[in-house]
Structure formats: C-alpha cells, structure tokens
Symmetry: C2
Subunit: 207 residues, 2 copies
Amino acid sequence: MTTKNKILDAAEKLFADKGFNGTSLREITSQAEVNLAAVNYHFGSKKELIKAVMSRYMNELSPRLESALITICNEEKQPTLVEVFSAFVEPLLALNQFKENGTSNFLQLLGRGYTDSQGFLRWFLTTRYPVVIDSFITAVHKAYPELSTEEMFWRLHFTMGTIVFTMSSSDALMDIAKNDFNKNIDIAGVIKQVIPYVAAGVGAPIR
Amino acid sequence: MTTKNKILDAAEKLFADKGFNGTSLREITSQAEVNLAAVNYHFGSKKELIKAVMSRYMNELSPRLESALITICNEEKQPTLVEVFSAFVEPLLALNQFKENGTSNFLQLLGRGYTDSQGFLRWFLTTRYPVVIDSFITAVHKAYPELSTEEMFWRLHFTMGTIVFTMSSSDALMDIAKNDFNKNIDIAGVIKQVIPYVAAGVGAPIR
DNA sequence: GTCTATAACTAGATAGAC
DNA sequence: GTCTATCTAGTTATAGAC
C-alpha cells in the first residue's frame, strides 16, 4: 500500500460523498493517514489528483465497455434499446471486483464531474475517451434508426442526466428505499431499475 | 431596487452558474455593488441567503403548479402521462414573466440544490412545499395506476434527475444545438423536448 | 520519500464607527 | 442601514530539514 494509492483511495471516497469542491486536501490526507504535503508531491495539484482518481476507473472501464458496444454494433440482428443499455451493466459491475464499492463510487464521481468543477472534467473525459461515446451512438442508431441525430443528441443528454443524478444521490435513494419499502437495494439493483426507464425514454415516439 | 433585492438577484445568477459552494459572499456583494457586510445584516448567513433565493421562486411557482396538478387529479377522465408532465410547462414558463430568465435560473438552482449542499436544500424544499409533491404523485398514479408506489418512487427520482441535469447544463446544450444543428432552441423548446422522454420513461412497461 | 513549518491566500462572520 | 476594519478559521501550495 503505497502513499500514492492511500491518497487515491481516500480521495475517491471523499470526492464521491462531498464533491470535488467540498473536499479539502486536509481531509484527504488525514483520512489516508499521510502527510498533507504528499498530495502535492505525488500529484502536483488537487486538479491533477482529481484526474488521476477518474483515470484509474476509466482505464479499467473503457476497454470492457467499448468491446461490449462494438459487439452489438457488429451483430447482424437489430438490437433493442434495452439490450444496448444493458451493455453497460457488466463493465460497470466489474468495477466492484476492481475495488470495493467501485461501481457506486465511480458513478457518483461521474455525477460530481458534471456538476462540480465547471465542466473541466466533462471536457477531460470526452476528449480522452471518444471511442466509448462513438460506439454508443452507433449502437443506439442501430436500435432505433428513425431517430434523427438531433433527437438522439437530446435524448442521450437526458439519459446522461438520469444516470448521473441518480448515482450522485444513490446513497440517499437507497436509504429511502430501505426505510419506506423495507427493500435492501444495492447499486446493481438501481442500475436494473434505471435501464427500462432510459430505454423507454430514448425510444419514445417521435412527435 | 433595495439592497436586499440587489443581493438576491446577484446571488441567484451566481449560484445558478457556479453552484452554492462555488460562489463566495465577496463575489455576490461585488456583483450586486453592495457592501460585504450587507449579506449578513439582511439574511444572517449564507445558508439563509440560499433559502431566500429559492423561496422567492418557489412562492411564485408552487400555487400555479399545485392548481394545475389538482385540476388533473379532479378530472373524470384518465390523463395521459404526457398531460401530467405538461402541467409543469405553464407554471415554469410563467417564471420568465416574474423575472428575466426566471425559468432557466430556477431550474438550474434546483439542480444545484440536489448536488451541492449535502441535501439540506432538498430537505428544505420537500418539507416546505409538500402539497406540490403529493398532488404530483396522485396525478401520476391516476395516469398509470398499475405502477406500484416503489416503482413510482424510482421513476420520479429518475425524472427529477433528467430535468435537473438537463437544466443545469442547458446553456451548454443550447449552444451545441445551435452549432451542430443550426437550431435556435430556447428553454421552452428544451422543456418540450424533454416531456415525451420522461413520460415514456415513467410509463415504461413493468418488468 | 516523508516530514514540519509556514507562506500566501480566501472563506464567512462580526464589532463598532458613522 | 451602511460602511471599514478585522477576526477566526479554513484553503492550496511550497521551502527546507531529515
């Protein structure tokens, strides 16, 4: 367990819980039980630490996700939208083997990245991992060819919002589900709930 | 134009753009061209200022929204989900007469309230304006009675996410729509795009 | 590589003159 | 009600000893 990894692990959890702006380097280093100066020694700045936390997950996720989406694009038969969105499930859940609570942490971080930090993380991710996005769009087009590029643009952004918002408040939602419905739902359960929703949304009839 | 209102107007725009955490009282008071101490004199604290900004909009919105939803609940015929969600359109757009860019600002603030501020704003809004939420749930239940309370809970949160995320990034989305599709879409246009999406999502078949 | 100490700065809040 | 000046506590980042 190197200092660098101790910092990454502590930062990841704190960022997911309280956002990037809401988490100080002091909290991170005291949680990680390392010296305050270690962050700047190993990463240079807080911004670079944020990128490092996200990259660790993206490098794990993106090959699996790309391959799942490209498989769908290359199949002969037309996929359903539910099948396209289901392609995300296995790669996302694989993050739990990579790291405890990996799926949940990653999706929460993604949500933070879209609302904190005035979009710098969004820019970082879309320019650094474009193949994931392109193959996803191709897969959706194959499932619903009548959808124009413009309609698809809107609906995919709506979908991103659904996912990202749900995940950044997933702890609260799971608590409520436990209290109100006496259901112990985990992150996999939330993902399974959201797929029919976004698939129906993207597949809504064109006005 | 009182000092209090100058502060509210400046705070509203800055909070919407950069989040509650990301905006300092110094930025607000210099934007409003009032003294730094004025915020604490008039509102007591930053937290109270945030509440005041949100309340100004909620007090304008909630009577119209309640009445539109209650009308749907009292009608004899079964409404469609598109009709239920369309009940939000007129009250939301009326915020533009109340204040320039009112609709857009309010929805962006709502988005911030769900991700910044560790949920204190969510608690504030749900406890302070429960009738809106109750009548909305009743209307959705009338449109889709087969949906269990639990399924509805999830799908309404997904919907909240769709709206809130879309609106907090609506400036960026409208820019992209203009560049890529040469369409000048405004906030009313975005709302009209999102309604079929969320209606289809909430109305998705039960697994 | 890791530590202490501290620089340089920003935050929200307040006391007290006017 | 409005101002200046200031307090206290927090932030990121760095210099320099070990």
